[in-house]
Subunit: 157 residues, 2 copies
């Protein structure tokens, strides 16, 4: 059976204006993205946010933990647990700087560096148009509109 048809026609459920609702479509799209993520990387013991965190730490060595949390839109209390997990697995290192001993600065270990490089293509490539069927142009446009939506939300909360 054709699951694509099943999701949009077989059921014959009338969604009306809900089908134009950005909020509703964002939720459905994220469920879809999670399905893709776990279908592709279920064997690796890693959660979606963890790769993002390591990726950003790699590009910003010594990034303060709270700033990482704000950037990824993860709450500080949750970030504490995530950082500890990544540290326990030997992927990141926490450093307390002398100039502000309240803060925590994050670095990738060589194992973390190796991990990111090994899975870089898989994680960032999952959004490649080959995987989700959107053309490169549509993908770029979707990314642009999502960033616009987010930026406008931040400007007028």
């Amino acid at each position: 059976m054709n699951t694509k048809v099943a999701a949009t026609e077989e059921v014959g459920v009338d969604l009306g204006e809900l089908n134009q609702s950005i909020g509703f479509l964002l939720r459905v799209a994220q469920v879809s993205a999670f399905d893709r993520f776990f279908a592709a990387f279920g064997e690796i013991d890693l959660r979606p946010g963890e790769f993002s965190a390591m990726w950003v730490i790699r590009r910003n060595p010594g990034l303060r933990q709270g700033l990482l949390a704000d950037t990824l839109r993860i709450k500080a209390a949750h970030m504490t647990k995530m950082v500890r997990r990544l540290e326990d697995r030997g992927f990141i290192q926490r450093v307390i700087p002398d100039d502000d001993r309240r803060s925590v600065r994050l670095f990738l270990t060589s194992a973390g560096e190796k991990f990111v490089l090994a899975h870089r293509e898989a994680f960032l490539g999952q959004d490649d148009y080959h995987h989700h069927g959107l053309s490169p142009e549509d993908t770029a446009e979707l990314a642009r509109l999502l960033r616009l939506y987010v930026d406008n939300g931040d400007a007028t909360p």
Copy 2:
């Protein structure tokens, strides 16, 4: 201070290719959508999925509970609880049909009908371009691309 700048520049955090990742952007956009939702409707005791459910039941009276769950991408176990909450609040009615006494068919009560009509503009209007700053054209394009992304995901899981 300008929170829009804060989210994209003040921090100076380099996201690299993550800023083109549909998966990452979808997550951030949904956080943004939730913030909007609760900023606008925090006083009403209603969760995002509950209005969607009532909305769809209203347009499809007698919809089977499992089919509603599949349509909204909500798991059956979770739908059981949501339906009970809505029934407890007097918004929907559960009917066991004689032709298949395993199934449950859902209808809006007059109170549910009144509730949907009273908040229709608020809930579906939250995605109006006035709220998120996207032009009508950009909004329509974003909706189209999100639906495309979801449909392609369903076709090739």
